[in-house]
């Protein structure tokens, strides 16, 4: 029996693997929910100046510790600053800490992993050993040790968190590069006289891109979390900078008088991590599904 045309898959053959990965990811309802929450949070922090006309740093002692109301939906803090404005602008920073930290960790990690995997030998042994050492610290402990060197502060927190994520990216890149280093087309490029750098950049790294994309999605959430944790401990963003972790640190002292100061900033972090976890899970499920299947 010959299959009729209608039974053939509707998707065109020319669909790129990345588009297919995304399509498969968003077949899961949790990915859609995750993307929606993330979109709302991103939109709210990007549009912060349009969503409030209040200055997040404006002190107004007469309005201290007011509960949420129509005009101030998240209440005010102990020196009368508007909590909604601080929430919006704080979200910007919390998200930014995660993104920059991962940018640092991914850039350093991918470079180290690619060099180790491509050159092998003692270069590989030395780099892999240093990655083993870094990975043997729990994220937060390593970040604390780095803050001890760099000193507290928002920028330093980004660097400290970024360093904690180097080993993950390095290991993944190294194993991807190792698995394709000996392929014929790489040999061919080498025989044609391509330099090490150009082989790495044009042949080896693009092949490692998809697993790296999944790792990035999964890591941004924990980077945001570790960054906020540093700020919560008073070692990241410093007052009066609005940042969710730092806002929780400040709000903690008023937990008995003003629940809104601890509920809202934490809710922001929670929803961010939740949305990234939902997306990341669906993405890695879709990537693990491989080429065959549904």
């Amino acid at each position: 029996m010959t299959p009729s045309l209608e039974l053939l898959p509707a998707t065109p053959r020319s669909e790129s693997p990345n588009v297919r990965l995304l399509r498969r990811t968003f077949r899961s309802p949790s990915a859609v929910i995750g993307a929606l929450i993330l979109f709302l949070l991103l939109a709210a922090s990007l549009a912060a100046p349009f969503l409030t006309d209040r200055d997040p740093d404006l002190i107004n002692p007469g309005q201290a510790l007011k509960p949420p109301s129509l005009s101030q939906p998240m209440g005010t803090d102990n020196i009368g600053r508007d909590n909604w404005a601080r929430f919006l602008f704080g979200g910007r920073l919390s998200l930014l800490v995660g993104v920059i930290a991962i940018a640092i960790g991914a850039t350093a990690g991918i470079t180290i992993g690619a060099v180790a995997g491509y050159f092998g030998g003692w270069v590989d042994s030395a780099l892999s050993w240093s990655m083993d050492v870094l990975i043997s610290f729990p994220d937060l402990l390593l970040a604390l040790a780095m803050i001890a060197v760099l000193g507290p502060g928002l920028i330093n927190a980004m660097i400290a968190v970024g360093i904690a994520f180097i080993p993950g990216f390095a290991r993944l890149t190294r194993s991807s590069v190792l698995s394709i280093r000996e392929q014929n087309y790489v040999e061919a490029a080498r025989a044609l006289g391509a330099s090490d750098a150009s082989i790495l950049l044009t042949h080896l790294l693009p092949n490692a891109l998809r697993p790296l994309l999944v790792l990035t999605t999964l890591s941004i959430g924990s980077a945001i979390l570790t960054g906020a944790a540093l700020s919560f401990l008073g070692l990241g963003a410093q007052p009066p900078t609005p940042e969710w972790g730092a806002m929780l640190n400040a709000g903690q002292k008023f937990v008995r008088q003003a629940w809104w100061l601890t509920v809202f900033p934490g809710l922001g972090i929670f929803l961010t991590i939740l949305s990234l976890n939902l997306l990341g899970d669906a993405l890695s499920d879709a990537a693990a599904g491989g080429t065959g299947g549904r």
Binding site: D132, A229, Q252, V255
Partner: protein, 308 residues
């Protein structure tokens, strides 16, 4: 097997050496003169500075300084804390038991909730019960520890007035919220692990055979599948126990509990480098040792590795 064992132990010793290099570098990489940084704005004489410089052995070449540091660390000597003038080893020795109690209690919470939840979800994969259990799990995974702690305080201390919000000596009630804070996110991780591992085992042939012989689903799970499904989970538990030790900084800070996590945070704020180096070195070493032991346990439990 002996070769695997030897290789594993050599790797661990190499990592421990690397950790000692990194921890040593903490105080040497600080920009500026470490003595000025450590003494900060405290009013000190030139003699006091010279004394600290001599105590830290800063006049020797760097490699010699490292070897001295390593030799001392191996003997459990980490110098004297700058803030409370107490030997660092004694400060850690006094605080470590508190953190171990917290980590053990959190692990009990994680197992007590994570295991039943994971098994419950694996019993009927794809059902609403499974979906619900996994929704609870992903929620638990996404809650920041520091927020969870504050929300528990808000509910159980402020609203209900049932539990003390800060540590009170030997009062066992004051351990409940810290243990929940540290343990609940771990419970979420364990539930996922148990579910995935159990589903994996349940799809294997000997389970299908047992089912075909007429064994009920519950009997199959508890008699046949669970034992094998436990192997990866046990491996993971070792890692988590060590992680709980490291992650105690936040929980101890929220609930004002004594412990080495809080010691590390206060050491950073007061620029007490000997104390910080001691805490980081001890915690990371515990992590490596537990990790190695877990790998070896896994090797003993899993004949496939034992044979090669």
């Amino acid at each position: 097997m002996r070769r695997y064992l030897a290789r594993r132990l050599i790797t661990s010793v190499g990592v421990l050496l690397g950790i000692s290099v990194l921890v040593f570098s903490i105080s040497r990489l600080v920009p500026g003169d470490i003595v000025d940084v450590m003494l900060g704005t405290r009013n000190v004489t030139a003699e006091a500075k010279a004394a600290l410089r001599a105590q830290l052995g800063l006049d020797a070449p760097i490699p010699v300084q490292y070897l001295v540091f390593l030799g001392n660390a191996v003997r459990g000597e980490f110098g004297v804390s700058l803030t409370n003038k107490m030997p660092v080893a004694r400060a850690i020795g006094e605080q470590l038991p508190n953190t171990v109690v917290l980590a053990a209690a959190a692990l009990a919470v994680a197992l007590g909730i994570g295991f039943p939840l994971g098994i419950f979800a694996a019993l009927r994969p794809g059902s609403w019960a499974d979906t619900l259990a996994m929704a609870v799990s992903v929620t638990g995974l996404s809650i920041p520890t520091f927020w969870l702690g504050l929300m528990l305080i808000l509910f159980f201390s402020v609203q209900l007035g049932w539990l003390p919000s800060i540590h009170k000596g030997s009062d066992p009630l004051s351990l409940i919220m810290p243990a929940l804070t540290l343990g609940l996110p771990e419970a979420a991780v364990i539930a996922r692990m148990v579910r995935a591992s159990l589903l994996d085992v349940l799809s294997q042939e000997y389970i299908v055979a047992a089912r075909a012989k007429g064994a009920g689903r519950a009997r199959v799970i508890f008699k046949h599948a669970l034992r094998n499904a436990l192997i990866p989970v046990v491996t993971f538990l070792g890692l988590q126990m060590a992680y709980l030790l490291g992650g105690s900084a936040i929980v101890e800070t929220i609930f004002a509990r004594p412990g080495i996590g809080r010691l590390a945070v206060s050491a950073i704020s007061s620029r007490d480098y000997p104390l910080l180096q001691g805490v980081v070195l001890v915690t990371a070493s515990i992590y490596v040792v537990v990790n190695t032991l877990t790998d070896l346990t896994y090797m003993l439990l899993n004949p496939k590795i034992r044979l090669t």
